[in-house]
């Protein structure tokens, strides 16, 4: 195949993954979404203990089982349960044993690392020809964000993998707690859309509509007014301590890239540091192309690059956000520049 960034995904069934730590409000969010009339043709895959509490047409419960490939890393493991559940849905639909569905929502367990789920969707030979990953939604409990993210590496991975972050339990939290949770989410994953559960309501479009691929340049430091207060500062400082080694850096490249040189660099980077490069998301100005190319990777899992129709802003420079754990950002910047021979600078948010 000559072109890697073709228009993939057309005609495939979109899959939304809802993840988040134990008790962070995944099922409540799912229940809200399923009440919407436009979610009627949705198949739901939940873990075996989940209960949506709705007479939904198609709810499957799956027991978690992971098959590790012999030569593989943990993130690149096929979720055997998910593979079987998705294949089973297709077979039963074809035999008219279940209603037609045009969307799948997967609610993960609170302790699930989302990477194997994403790997299964993009790599399993049958699954990838029928389904496509649409969005990853991560719920973060405003009251317990500190506890969840500080003690559980899965919580950080879930947050880093998110395309949307929904701050839940905002009705129970103090304004300073909400502000601190939002600030931490922005710092760990500036590429995700940040929403309050109260704002989501029952409008699934806010969560499920295709996000225009791109890199959110609003990866600015937290600016919530409540953080200016002493209590707010204390909350944020507490969260910062826990996630001190996880952070993001947004790099801007001053000239068009050689795609091949970038691919060589990224493959080597992910080979060496994939466990600590939690997310790579970028919009690239590639030589020979007028329109940008969108890249998206979660740990070692790289989604097929996408051609975009046009640039989202007048700034046509490549912009890449890295969410990393303990990776030196200056070395990352220098390495990218040396491999691509393009000047690389850190994005500013003036």
């Amino acid at each position: 195949m000559d072109r890697v960034a073709d228009k993939r995904g057309q005609g495939l069934i979109p899959v939304t993954v809802i993840t988040g730590f134990l008790g962070s409000g995944k099922t409540t969010l799912l229940q809200r979404l399923l009440r919407s009339p436009c979610m009627q043709r949705t198949a739901v895959l939940m873990n075996e203990f989940g209960e949506v509490g709705l007479d939904h047409l198609l709810v499957e419960h799956v027991a978690e089982s992971v098959v590790l490939l012999k030569s593989g890393c943990i993130c690149c493991s096929i979720r055997d349960d998910l593979k079987s559940a998705l294949r089973g849905l297709l077979s039963r639909r074809d035999r008219a044993e279940v209603p037609e569905f045009d969307r799948v929502v997967i609610e993960t367990t609170g302790l699930a690392d989302p990477a194997p789920i994403l790997y299964t969707l993009v790599s399993e030979p049958v699954v990838r020809h029928h389904f496509r990953l649409a969005t990853v939604i991560t719920t973060v409990d405003a009251v317990n964000a500190d506890l969840h993210l500080s003690r559980n590496p899965e919580g950080v991975r879930q947050l880093a993998a998110a395309d949307r972050v929904v701050i839940t339990k905002t009705d129970l939290a103090e304004p300073t707690q909400i502000a601190a949770a939002r600030a931490l989410c922005r710092r760990v994953n500036p590429t995700a859309w940040l929403l309050d559960a109260a704002d989501v309501g029952t409008d699934p479009d806010l969560l499920l509509a295709a996000q225009p691929p791109g890199v959110d340049s609003r990866a600015a430091p937290p600016s919530d007014a409540t953080l200016g207060t002493q209590a707010g500062q204390a909350h944020f400082a507490a969260l910062e301590r826990h996630g001190a080694d996880v952070g993001s850096v947004s790099l801007v490249l001053d000239a068009p890239l050689d795609w091949t040189a970038f691919g060589v660099w990224l493959s080597m980077l992910l080979h060496r540091y994939g466990n600590d490069v939690l997310r790579v998301k970028g919009i690239l100005q590639v030589r020979e192309l007028q329109a940008p190319v969108f890249i998206n990777a979660v740990q070692h899992i790289v989604h097929p690059p996408q051609h975009l129709e046009s640039w989202p802003t007048d700034d046509h420079r490549s912009r890449i956000v890295f969410i990393t754990r303990g990776v030196d950002r200056e070395r990352l910047q220098r390495s990218l520049a040396a491999f691509t021979k393009v000047r690389v600078s850190e994005a500013s948010y003036a």
Binding site: D2, R3, W265, S267, L289
Partner: protein
Amino acid sequence: MCGFCGVFLSETHWSDGSVAGPQAGGRTRRQERAHRVAVANRVLRHYGLKLADWQGSAYLLSGQTGQTAVVPSVAAVWPAAEQLRKRSLDPFDEALLEALERG
């Protein structure tokens, strides 16, 4: 689709192929493979290794003492190179970066 182990459950690794085909003024498949080999060799040279196209379908990685490995994609080069050289390859390696900046 795994950037770490290069395991192939799908037919094409993301890093294989060009994003601009000949119609868009880009390279042909053969030209693209030759270019990919040249780019990878800038890095591999630093470790005493060499990559070559292998019948248009894989790559042949060779060491200076005659050791070889056939790999399906550039992403699979790195674990194979580490096995041949018995050391880890680091894109942040200061000496490598200096060599790339010079060359």
